[in-house]
Amino acid sequence: MAATAQMTLEEIRSGLGWRKQLDKLFVIAGLSIVLACLGVLAILFLDLVRDGSARFGWDFFTSFPSRKAERAGILSAAVGTTMIMFVTALAALPVGVAAAIYLEEYAPKNWLTGIIEINVTNLAGVPSIVYGLLALGLFVYQFGFGQSVLSAGLTLALLILPIIIVATRESLRSVPKAIREAAYGLGATRWEVSRDHVLPYSTGGILTGLILGLSRAIGETAPLITIGALSFIAFLPPSPVSAEFPFLNFQWLRSEYTAMPIQMFNWVSRPDQAFQANAAAAGAILLGMTLAMNGLAIWIRYRFRKRINW
């Protein structure tokens, strides 16, 4: 293309021709790749359901693991997961929300704040098994919590802490500055502004963060293995409620346990093909729960965004 000569319309059209083809090709390629990825997700889910369908049933949910594949169930794993999630949520939510409030409303722009923020970002990128090693050294041995529900819950709480902090900060930020100014103008202290005006309107985002965090925690296997989750637990941790005073006890926290992803891992690792159906069933349940929780989080985010039009 000479720098001085102007192109005729035909020259332009023919040159443009193949460029437009390439453009169209890319659209097709891009779209197909996206659909392929989504397709894989669908195939994965359906395959799990199909392979595990033989095992779905009331006894799958109510049996303990067993050496015989047909009799093995996820009761202890399901209960273990529920208890662990409870501890995780209880530990991670207050700390995460509090840290987020500090960073958004209180923190001055100094080196300490910078260090906290860098650490939050860094922790989000630490491999989950390293959290397991930390918990092993710290919770299991140093603090002496042992291989218990408590250790597992605290480990996963640390793991999802960055998720909760980031989600909470985002929703705190979405409260307009003008509202804070109005509250300060009336003589409110920082905590009063946060408590009366910022937090109440951030609950949607915080809830979203919690659900996303828990959906991540529910599928985490590596840290639990490291701190010694056993997979052949044919008993349930002691129940927190009992018929006699004081009605509530904490023994279950110290108990050994297993969890759903551990159970699935155990079944998948067995050479015996019969257990694969069990693994598939457990996987289908796990995946189903993860997708449901993520979907719930997305829905909540959507609903809360529409609620208040500032």
């Binding site: 722009k109 307009p176 003008a178 100014e181 109005a182 103008g185 003589g187």
Partner: protein
Amino acid sequence: MSMDVSTPTHAVSDKRQAAAMQGDSRIQPAGTPSVSIAIDERKTVAANTPKASSQGLNFWYGSNHALKGIDLAIPENQVTALIGPSGCGKSTFLRCFNRMHDLQPETRYQGAILLRPDDVNLVSREVDPIEVRMRIGMVFQKPNPFPKSVFENVAYGLRLRGVRNRLNLAERVEKALRDAAIWDEVKDRLEDSALALSGGQMQRLCIARALATQPELLLFDEPTSALDPIATAKIEELISELRQRVTILIVTHNMQQAARVSDFTAFMYLGELVEVDATSRIFTNPSRKATEDYITGRYG
């Protein structure tokens, strides 16, 4: 303020003629209000007791020296307006009165703003900004009611001060809403969301909210710039009335508004106080050229 209309108007038009003949356009301001203003020679800033006075106030945003040595007395129970081109520091100065700048990092005050009668220095490091804000109220540029009910909006300041008794709250909320000339419009809607009100109503609600806590000084930061003319007029009327109850300091970029509403006007430019005088005098006979240039529209 005596409204002796006849003589001053003639005096003004005589001056105008004289000026026109000399080719001096000094008293033909493009921006003067069309309403004639009587010049009351007795009205000066010095003649009134100040509610607050700024003495040698300097203010820095980081390394930016935003306010330079401002000495200004705010007369009690009068409306004082701050005018000046964008960036002159009028909002910055206003926000010193209730320490709003303390919410940003790297801000520094020097000098004093004394609040009578106890002569507290509002900008002193030893005085807690929260205490300052409990005595001084503010109405912001864009109406910012809380996303709560009308009642709760007005009650919030009272709750902060520990007023719990439901009856007491209801009485004081009603009084504030009446003082803000909005009671009739919302008395049946007290539990409805404040965000359902119109812009002008929201702003009057914000005024009620500020009044509920009985502030000693009420700051208005361009309160009508986001409102339509009818709402603006209502609020200007309200401000005029409110002066009997509370001292008012208002920032406005609209000179006509300053002329309509205020008793005294201070003109600021590039962080300095150029001139302050009775409104009537400053718009018809400013003593500084810079003021006159601004008023005549030479620059905005």
